[in-house]
Symmetry: C2
Subunit: 196 residues, 2 copies
């Protein structure tokens, strides 16, 4: 009895997260994960039942976004970008979701539900209209996921190289406009109003 079962389990989980994040679902083989963890493949099955359930365990996530009501209205955009970057750099979970969500419908579905339960409420704090809140949250997601994609997954050199402050300075205002900007004003006279 070298390790406790809990220790083995978390070893496997850590290795799995790394592999899933780096290679995606199919190419992260149970054997490779087990080898990384220094554990027999059969133990993976014993502890997690199947590869699919191991995957599910590997990508549990809570965005832990800042409460929109605790930050000044004019800084929601940059606060969100900050929060997302931290979250993204903190562990590999979001990378796993993004990488595998592109090819696995069930993971995409999961991302959609995360989006609905965690980002839509933020947008809803700034508008009474539920459908508009969804739209605004969707736009904000597109920009945030796009940054994550280019910076952490595709690794576009300039996006990867930009400092965090620089990124926040550029992208924050975009999110700000999407979330609390005045759409009507935008439409009327060209965008100008997300500082509101």
């Amino acid at each position: 009895m070298r390790r406790s079962s809990a220790a083995s389990k978390s070893l496997i989980l850590a290795a799995a997260r790394e592999r899933f994040a780096a290679d995606g679902y199919e190419r992260a083989t149970v054997r490779a994960i087990a080898a990384d963890a220094g554990i027999d493949p059969s133990m993976v099955m014993r502890y997690f039942g199947s590869k699919e359930r191991l995957f599910a365990a590997a990508c549990e996530v809570d965005l832990a976004l800042p409460d929109p009501l605790t930050v000044p209205r004019g800084e929601v955009g940059s606060a969100l970008v900050e929060a997302f970057l931290s979250r993204w750099e903190g562990d590999e979970t979001l990378q796993i979701l993004l990488r595998t969500g592109c090819t696995h419908a069930s993971v995409a579905e999961r991302m959609r539900s995360i989006f609905v339960t965690q980002l839509v409420p933020v947008a809803a704090a700034f508008t009474g209209d539920a459908s508009e809140a969804e739209k605004r949250a969707g736009l904000a997601s597109s920009q945030i996921l796009g940054v994550a994609l280019c910076r952490f997954v595709l690794e576009f050199p300039p996006v990867k190289a930009m400092s965090r402050q620089e990124l926040v300075a550029w992208v924050g205002p975009t999110i700000q406009r999407y979330l609390v900007g005045d759409a009507a004003l935008d439409a009327r006279c060209g965008v100008r109003s997300w500082e509101a």
Copy 2:
């Protein structure tokens, strides 16, 4: 001799594009592609040599972006968004690249090179500084790829449901600011200047 070899080849290619776009590289098996095309798997190998070369043939792409000098300076953003949406809806190539680029380093590399050769020049038309052009092109990419991701791949309901004009109205100004906005002014007094 039922079909010409060219006809078979393009049948296979069409089926391959669909499968790669829907399932990604690994789960789009040669057998499945061949079955879709109504052709024996061995013919796929005969015509394309290997699965990898079939994949390469399936995702040749030319963005055909508008020449930035032919559109009014104030409309570059919306013109680009329009162009990208058309390109994206036109065929499955970009979907293949995005879906598989998330898990395959070589495809990601290819996306990076497409980015450098096709988007950076657009940004460079508005600034003398090469490194700033890269940065601006990177930011624009992040927003454009993010929209594509949410609309065509992850299918976030609100982003998928938005009309094209609506999307252009929201996202166009963002791209405009990234490409031709005044960064110094942004930094000094809050963003306000991408109409320039």
